[in-house]
């Protein structure tokens, strides 16, 4: 049943350039879903199943012949699962941030587990954001908006403390999404006044306090 009448932007009418997103996830089901989420958000998607395949694609596997290919297929955003066999999402994140060629590309980590130390580690290592699975359309829209606005990695200490505080704030609420104030780390304008829109919480899924 197509419930898609309230569909999001018609991609062809969008004036924005098409973002190229590299999605990394070992789960076939999750790859299919994230791919669809991104395509609906008007992105070009390349989905791979592992960190090593991702590095290969990005031309970071030491094979010089890939470097030309990479320039032609510029990646604007990398979204990676955390728990993967072989190279974890965290290890992939590290390698990307250690690369002079790739470190400017925003990397977002996804995980089904809401572990504060894990989130902190990823943010400290330079991840732009940390999404709790299952990922929602609102999460993806927020990411793409951020990248389209020219969002650049700015993970300084203050930024991280804000993200952490938001996580703590939301843990006291039983709602899945909480409206954000201006302290969204993904806001490219750090001076903006508090937003009272329905901008979803940065780390949007909290464990439900009561099961339904």
């Amino acid at each position: 049943m197509a419930v898609g009448d309230k569909m999001v932007d018609d991609c062809s009418s969008s004036a924005a350039p098409e973002l190229h997103v590299l999605a990394v996830d070992d789960s076939l089901v999750d790859r299919k879903v994230i791919e669809r989420l991104l395509k609906i958000s008007c992105c070009k998607v390349t989905a791979v199943e592992s960190g090593s395949r991702a590095l290969q694609y990005l031309g970071l596997d030491g094979d010089k012949s890939n470097s030309v290919g990479f320039d032609a297929l510029k990646v604007n955003l990398i979204v990676t699962d955390y728990s993967m066999p072989g190279m974890t999402g965290f290890e992939l994140l590290k390698k990307i941030k250690e690369s002079s060629k790739l470190k400017e590309i925003p990397v977002v980590v996804m995980s089904s587990e809401n572990i504060l130390t894990r989130i902190d580690r990823c943010l400290e290592e330079g991840a732009e954001d940390f999404l709790l699975k299952p990922v929602k359309l609102a999460d993806v829209k927020r990411l793409t908006d951020f990248v389209l606005k020219g969002g650049v990695s700015k993970n300084d200490g203050a930024c991280m403390n804000r993200k952490r505080k938001l996580l703590d704030d939301s843990s006291s609420s039983s709602a899945d999404s909480v409206s954000l104030s201006s302290s969204s780390p993904l806001s490219s304008d750090s001076e903006s006044s508090p937003r009272h829109s329905s901008t979803p919480h940065l780390i949007s899924k909290r464990p439900r306090l009561s099961s339904s």
Binding site: S27, K32, R36, P134
Partner: protein
Amino acid sequence: MDRNQMNRQLANMRKALFDQGYLDEQFVQLEELQDDANPNFVEEVVTLFYRDSARLIQTMDQTLERNPLDFAKLDNNMHQFTGSCSSIGAKKVKHECSQFREYCRQRNGEGCRRTFQQMKKEYAILKKKLEVYFQYVRQVALLK
């Protein structure tokens, strides 16, 4: 049955799946990703889920037969499987998965085995219910 009746019946079927706790909000999220160009997206994801998880379930079945039980491996596999269940909104199945992981943590082999059987039951029930549901969805779509 006329189109209105079929639509109502379909809506009721869908509502029941949620009311009876088989599906959660994530299923709705998937439905919102459907459009005229991708009208069967949810069914495709569910089909993929069942095909892909069959292997994992078989692996866990085999691991559960060993003695002593490799709880770390079982927990790891179940973590993977739980992720997929979560992605399609399989609420009851996911609940059994959580129970299973809890038993793993407690190193309770009997609990693991019992819960695993229960999980497989829920997994099969959901599969059947969704098959019937999607079949009806397609029938209704033909009327439009």
